[in-house]
Amino acid sequence: MREITYRQALNEALAEELERDPNVFLMGEEVAEYNGAYKVSQGLLDRFGPRRIIDTPISENGFAGLGVGAAMVGLRPIIEFMTFSFSLVAFDQVVNNAPNMFTMSGGQFNIPITFRGPNGPAHQLGATHSHATECLYANAPGLKVCTPATPRDAKGLLKTAVRDNNPVLVLEAELLYSSKGMVEPPDEELLIPLGQAEVKREGSDVSIICYAQTVPLALAAAQQLEEEDISAEIVDLRSIKPLDEKAIFDSVAKTHRVVIVEQDRPFCGVGAEVCYRIQKNVFDELDAPIMRVSQEDVPMPYNEKLEKAVLPNKDKLMAAVKKVCYV
């Protein structure tokens, strides 16, 4: 194992899959000559050339659709959205064309495409650039959605996504690109299956269910809670769809108290679905109502103080944990 950044981990995943399969190509705005808006594709143009690392004009609808068309005949496009806030311009291609094709054609055309890029609120980007899209896309049957929080998960999930025969969205965490973590050496194949959560920290008093940007938040809260004699178990979903129900239920059966901390909005957010499944399947395991910590239900304000107030944070999470623990 060695320590690399989240950005580097994604870069390795792209390079390894491009190397392995000639059908894989990377397309998006600024991915080639500019080396990526967030430098995730650094050096790939030099290594793989302009046939496979392709700059596009600012036409998300157009190039997302081009990717879907190319996938119909067996290429494996990796389509980068500079941010998933911009994927909304391509919503029709991602939600209508990519996942419906397999059903609509009676199983004749599966779409092995990966849509990837940063997702979720970053820092003072205002309402249009701060969307957490996981709940929108997880709602479409036929799509898979994963949300890596660590360099290891980022590499393993992206590689799996590229090899999947279905459309997969890899929602990267913009604020975590420079974060570091331990990852297997480059000569060791790292594939993390979609639909497998991971317990990032064992605990016995409360389960904190989190993903993407809320994982480091939950880990920090757990450390502080430890000092107050509350042992929190951190369950990182890693994939939103398929959802690892078993890992969630196992943790609930262990701690009997749950807080879900999500980076999206409360109304129809990921936490709402997780919460429903817990009460439906393991109601009797619960010792307290489930709490959710999410964004406030408002468009993201630019003002720094207000933005902080809208986002989930450690204080909100700790307060929720104490509430479900009745302390």
């Binding site: 659709g65 068309g69 009676g106 395991e285």
Partner: protein, 349 residues
């Protein structure tokens, strides 16, 4: 490799089959055997038949929702087409797509797409794949005059031109986007001028004339195979029926419809062939009779076919099945109440 020379009499038979098929579809729709929306191609037959006559069988075609004729022209069996309209398992999309979503991988028919303009980027993708693999296939992308004001259309044309993709964009200009005439929807003197904005060569063809469509397309396709580039064709045509089965087409005059009916593409090709001594009246009648019989037989086939089984509902949700198929897990019996599980009231201090 030159396009396969397809016999003109055979192509006339295909046009007749398409018309008779659509007439049967109309009848079956009225009998409520066909659900949803149903858009008929009657009047426009020369466009797809002319274009397909200029292709190789391994070229790709993709179209919008008025797609029955495109599948038939590509060689999808009339039985599979009618069964799809009936929503049956034997349909070309296993009864899961319906009238607007015909697919036939074997015959390189890549749909049947019902969001106006949304398939034009897909066509760019198909063509991109051909160029990426260094193949000399050409993609034909059909769409209506309504599609040319959608963002997806513009983005796709720009991408195709930038990347020099081997695709022919064929606008089937039947003068109406549903009930809105081109004059009321499009700020252009003529539709073909759209291509110029993207530096794509554009041509106008008489879409009621099979030979003109075929010959122009053959010329364009030859040029593309020589050196990959996109092209644009505005085929001027007319649909005799409403936009869909539920549209009485009250936005146009009887005189206008009659004018186009006199210019009927089937009558025209028949006259050309008869004049040249390649077709007798008896032969024509036989072809028509055969078309009618095939269409009628396809109805019988569709009627007798089974519905897609409910057990397969989740089979085409995700490729590869397994947990990833999204199939709901079997419901486990409710667990027994955990011993000593407190109620919130009891637990509260």
């Amino acid at each position: 490799m030159l396009p396969e020379q397809r016999d003109e009499v055979e192509m006339l038979a295909l046009m007749l089959l398409i018309r008779r098929f659509e007439e049967r579809a109309s009848q079956q729709y009225q009998a409520q055997k066909i659900g949803g929306f149903c858009h008929l191609y009657i009047g426009q037959e020369a466009v797809v038949c002319g274009a397909v006559a200029a292709t190789r069988r391994d070229d790709y075609i993709i179209t919008a929702y008025r797609d029955h004729a495109h599948a038939l022209a590509r060689g999808t069996s009339p039985e599979a087409c009618m069964a799809e309209l009936f929503g049956k398992e034997t349909g070309c999309s296993r009864g899961l797509g319906g009238s607007m979503h015909f697919f036939d991988r074997q015959n390189h028919m890549y749909g049947g797409h019902a969001i106006v303009g949304a398939h034009v980027p897909l066509a760019a993708g198909l063509a991109f794949a051909c160029k990426y693999r260094n193949e000399d296939r050409v993609t034909l992308c059909f769409f209506g005059d309504g599609a040319i004001n959608q963002g997806a259309f513009h983005e796709a044309l720009n991408l195709a031109a930038l990347y020099k993709l081997p695709v022919v964009f064929i606008c089937e200009n039947n003068l109406f986007a549903m009930g809105t005439s081109v004059k009321r929807s499009t700020s252009l003197k003529q539709i073909v001028d759209r291509a110029e904005g993207y530096d794509i060569p554009g041509e106008i063809v008489d879409g009621m004339n099979f030979r003109e469509v075929r010959d122009k397309l053959a010329e364009i396709i030859t040029s593309i195979r020589k050196e990959s580039h996109p092209a644009f064709v505005e085929a001027r045509t007319y649909r005799y029926r409403g936009h869909s089965m539920s549209d009485p087409a009250s936005y146009r005059t009887k005189e206008e419809l009659e004018k186009y009916r006199l210019d009927d593409p089937i009558t025209r090709l028949r006259a050309q062939l008869t004049r040249e001594g390649k077709l007798t009246n008896e032969q024509f009648d036989q072809l028509d009779k055969r078309g009618k019989k095939i269409a009628l037989d396809s109805v019988k086939f569709a009627e007798e076919s089974p519905d897609p089984p409910l057990e397969k509902l989740y089979d085409y949700n995700y490729a590869n099945g397994g947990m990833e198929s999204g199939r709901p897990r079997p419901v486990e019996p409710a667990q027994e109440r955990r011993e000593g599980a407190p109620s919130p009231e009891k637990a509260k201090p």
